[in-house]
């Protein structure tokens, strides 16, 4: 089960080993941990790494290498997200065998990581990042992104920026024997993000990358396969792990908001600062995150707005709200065309209730459905516990006033229990 929050909205599932897959004796990570230059004598790197939690988006040729390296460091938790499965061509660039062909990548890498480090909690999700929800990587200390899907990169960059979670991207350009690693610190609204650095060519590719069906679901499109060699992908994965290690242990100069590029022709490495583009279309607000004492659903929106320090004019007129991965549905309509007020937070794809006239299913009307809901639409609902405004109790809620936002999450019972166990 996922420690990020309450289970229902979390699509990750924990990877567990069978009794015959668990090694009898686990070696201590300290047995092979070097004494890093510049690290104070009193600092135990194994201890720091054993608390590190890393999210993965994309575990193909680059991500799989990085993930196995990190598993060997004995991290606390790995969340692995990848929507694709291994194909026969994957044998050409990825460190897999024929037995892996046809298996979902996230599952396969998750099992490998778990076998390498049984003490690490490993979670896998065999689906697209976009369907994971806002808080999927909220507990990660770092997210490593190694995907060839620009839309997923931009969305992941936006999510990590809001959550203030550092993001690392590893990629290759096969023809020029180039491996790149970018590290975004996501410390403030002035930090750069992946969308800041998109070239006009990449923006065009982004626009043509996805096709939607009538119901709004993305249609499967021809994937953009990695045209590279396995060694170059491995180098990119290795460099990414090196940057993560330096960041986590504070080794050497800062790696934050930098791109490193290694070239196989010149055998040189270049370091370039990543810069914020003022005209970047991403929302650069970094949210503050708080844990509520009990479930978020027990709080009222007014309590959250007040606790967030929003301008209190009695009605919090300048505030807006989000409740979990839902939308606020003002109005719904049935197939017979009977429209009626709904005024509830509804999960995407869910029914908005039943029609009072004919009993048919109410469908949210798109124009009257809001992702972020201004308080003026919530008159009379600010005082009610959030769980009464939803179909399922949410595990997070968000309050925003202009650029400043505060994310509230339910207390993490599972994490607390695990700390206690230690």
């Amino acid at each position: 089960m996922c420690p990020t929050s309450i289970e229902p909205s979390c699509r990750f599932h924990e990877v567990l080993l069978g009794p015959d897959q668990t090694p009898a004796a686990l070696p201590s990570r300290r047995a092979r941990m070097p004494r890093f230059l510049s690290l104070p004598e009193s600092t135990d790197p194994s201890s720091i790494l054993s608390r590190l939690r890393v999210g993965f988006l994309g575990v193909g040729a680059v991500g799989r290498v990085a993930c196995t390296h990190l598993a060997r460091l004995g991290l606390d938790t790995l969340w692995i997200c990848d929507s694709s499965s291994y194909k026969a061509e994957s044998l050409l660039t990825q460190p897999i065998t024929a037995d892996d062909v046809g298996r979902p990548k996230a599952q396969s890498v998750g099992h490998l990581a778990k076998r390498l480090s049984p003490s690490t909690r490993v979670y896998a999700y065999d689906g697209p990042f976009e369907s994971l929800g806002m808080t999927a990587f909220a507990d990660a200390d770092i997210v490593l992104m190694a995907t060839d899907n620009i839309r997923a990169e931009v969305e992941c960059g936006q999510t990590c920026l809001h959550l203030g979670v550092p993001l690392v991207q590893a990629s290759v350009h096969g023809a020029t024997l180039t491996a790149q690693v970018r590290f975004w610190g996501n410390a403030s609204a002035e930090s750069p993000c992946p969308a800041c650095g998109l070239t006009s060519q990449e923006r065009s590719a982004l626009a043509g990358e996805v096709l939607y069906s009538c119901d709004g679901a993305p249609l499967p499109t021809a994937p953009n396969p990695t045209t590279s060699t396995s060694h170059l992908c491995a180098i990119a994965g290795d460099l990414a792990v090196n940057q993560i290690l330096r960041f986590a242990l504070g080794l050497g100069a800062s790696v934050v908001d930098q791109e490193i590029e290694w070239n196989g022709f010149t055998m040189r490495t270049c370091t370039t600062p990543l810069e914020n583009r003022p005209s970047c279309p991403a929302d650069h607000a970094v949210w503050t995150t708080h844990r509520t004492r009990g479930p978020v659903g027990d709080c009222t929106l007014r309590e959250l707005a007040r606790a967030a320090g929003m301008h209190d004019d009695g009605r919090f007129e300048r505030a807006s709200f989000r409740v979990g991965d839902t939308s606020y549905v003002q109005r719904g309509v049935c197939r017979e065309g009977h429209g009626q007020a709904v005024e509830r937070f509804v999960a995407q794809g869910s029914s908005a209730g039943s029609c009072a006239s004919c009993g048919g299913e109410l469908i949210p009307e798109p124009f009257f459905t809001h992702d972020t809901t201004p308080s003026r639409l919530l008159t009379g609902q600010l005082e009610r516990p959030i769980r009464e405004l939803c179909q399922e109790p949410p595990d997070w809620a968000f309050v925003r006033e202009n650029g400043a936002g505060v994310l509230y999450r339910s207390a993490a019972h599972r994490e607390t229990n695990r700390e206690d166990a230690r």
Partner: protein, 221 residues
């Protein structure tokens, strides 16, 4: 020597096409209308600026095409939301009735989310036809809610003015998708096949989108 203006006709066309909308004066009523919407605009500073610019362009376009559409409501508090009365021939068919009835206009709900700046969006995620019911087009589902599909994918950052013009073109069948075999599909295959069989019933209009009459005072936004 002094050059004399030989009587260039003053029209409502912006000097630089749609790109010149930012320079079109809104007039008193539309300025106040925009100010009221901007006063309660929410979101990050960049998003507020973008919404204000998009709303201004819509209002400028509504001034130039006042014969074609009017903006009834404008809300910038989160997403950009506008209720737009489009004056154009719109084909409709009542359930269970085979007769095509062409109505003189439609009420559209436009919702432009911040996410539309960043990533490609489904073509049916922007416009809902609020009135009339039973719009009979391949890009509109036969059952409510009546979303209007503008394209399989809308590129990130597409301006609202282009969405509005696409809506006009889609509702009047100036651009349309009647290929039921297309990968993205059509909302209403019956309508697609009907217009394939009855191309003469496509309700075209001779009236241009922009008002070419000399500029005049008008009261409504």
């Amino acid at each position: 020597m002094r050059l004399t203006d030989v009587g260039r006709r003053e029209t409502n066309r912006p000097g630089n096409g749609l790109a010149g909308l930012a320079g079109v004066p809104l007039g008193f009523n539309r300025e106040r209308f925009l100010e009221a919407a901007v006063a309660v605009s929410g979101g990050s500073p960049a998003w507020r600026r973008r919404k204000a610019a998009e709303a201004r362009e819509l209002l400028a376009l509504s001034r130039l095409a006042r014969n074609r559409f009017t903006i009834e409501q404008l809300d910038l508090s989160e997403s950009l939301r506008a209720v737009i009365h489009l004056h154009a021939p719109v084909p409709t068919r009542r359930p269970g009735c085979d007769e095509l009835v062409v109505l003189p206009g439609a009420l559209l709900g436009l919702q432009y989310r911040q996410q539309a700046l960043l990533t490609p969006q489904p073509g049916a995620s922007f416009i809902q036809i609020l009135e009339p019911e039973g719009v009979f087009l391949a890009q509109v589902p036969a059952e409510p809610p009546y979303r209007l599909c503008l394209a399989p994918t809308i590129p990130p950052g597409t301006p609202c003015k282009e969405l509005l013009l696409s809506s006009y073109a889609a509702l009047t069948l100036q651009t349309f998708q009647i290929d039921v075999g297309h990968a993205a599909g059509v909302f209403n295959p019956v309508a697609a096949l009907w217009f394939q069989d009855n191309p003469g019933r496509i309700p075209l209009t001779h009236e241009p989108f922009l008002d070419t009459r000399p500029a005049a005072q008008e009261a409504r936004p």
